[in-house]
């Protein structure tokens, strides 16, 4: 499957608007400016995915949410562990080294992931006039290898939309990754057109 320039531009813009909405939501939660990078749009097989994610931190925290509707896929919010701890500390007013933080970490990050992923995918749904349904979010701590081995991420080929965001004052960074099932790609392109 090859994307032409127009399709790539359209998808980039869709993701841009969605991530912009998510950044605005995160800003309202934590009161700090969110810096966004331009989304990368790629079609990758499993091996290429491993190479593409080679430079990720060894220890990450992820929230994933499968979605379906006119198109099917999986959305993920990925943080290096330290960024995850800092973000939870800011949101819950706990000290970053507090033992209480561990108790609320998974729940807090899961909900943040839920809110931000809904902002991204929901914006796309609104723009495409498409009704998208979600499954419950799933939280995981581990490595990128563990993340790629999750059932939802093991399709033979995926369209990946990836954006990095950062919160400079807090030294927090993270990634949105959207994996679109290539089998539903034609429907996605039809919806865009």
């Amino acid at each position: 499957m090859i994307l032409n320039d127009e399709q790539r531009d359209l998808i980039t813009e869709l993701v841009n608007v969605g991530v912009g909405r998510a950044a605005s939501t995160l800003n309202s939660l934590i009161g700090h400016h969110i810096m966004l990078q331009v989304p990368q749009i790629l079609v990758l097989n499993q091996q290429e995915m491993k190479q593409y994610t080679h430079d990720y931190d060894d220890a990450i925290a992820t929230v994933t949410m499968p979605f379906h509707g006119p198109f099917i896929g999986n959305a993920a919010l990925i943080f290096p562990q330290q960024s995850a701890s800092t973000l939870v500390a800011v949101l819950t007013d706990e000290s970053p080294n507090s033992t209480e933080l561990d108790a609320v970490r998974a729940g807090t990050l899961t909900e943040i992931g839920n809110i931000l992923i809904n902002a991204v995918i929901g914006s796309m749904g609104n723009m495409l006039d498409a009704n998208i349904e979600y499954s419950l979010p799933d939280y995981m701590e581990g490595s990128m290898h563990d993340f790629l081995n999750l059932e939802a991420n093991r399709a033979p080929a995926v369209l990946v939309a990836q954006t990095t965001f950062s919160i400079n004052e807090l030294e927090v960074k993270g990634d949105f990754m959207l994996f679109f099932d290539v089998a539903s790609f034609d429907t996605f392109i039809e919806a865009i057109n």
Partner: protein, 119 residues
Amino acid sequence: MAKILVTDDSGFLRKRTCAILKNAGHEVFEAENGEQCLEKLADIQPDCLFLDLIMPVMDGFEVLKTLQDAKNTIPVIVLTADIQESVQKECLGYGASSFLNKPPKESEVTDALNKALGH
């Protein structure tokens, strides 16, 4: 002072919403999913329900449909991360009084509550 039931599987969100409502002087109760919500509605008879949509065990859509079928009169304020306009329409079609997106601003919560309570 009103009795309000907040239903959300996220402890983080329940805490934030309950804090806003308690600061406004209301008595709050909590449920973690739709099934608990329906049980507590029967026990507590709250003046208003804040309801998340995507939850385990029973989701918010099922709660809305159940309440609509039972000709419920307790106002329901949907509070969800789902920003889709189609979902908002669906919830209002099931009889929700208001539809708020997470994270809610304090003013949005109090305005929706005042509308629901007829103030």
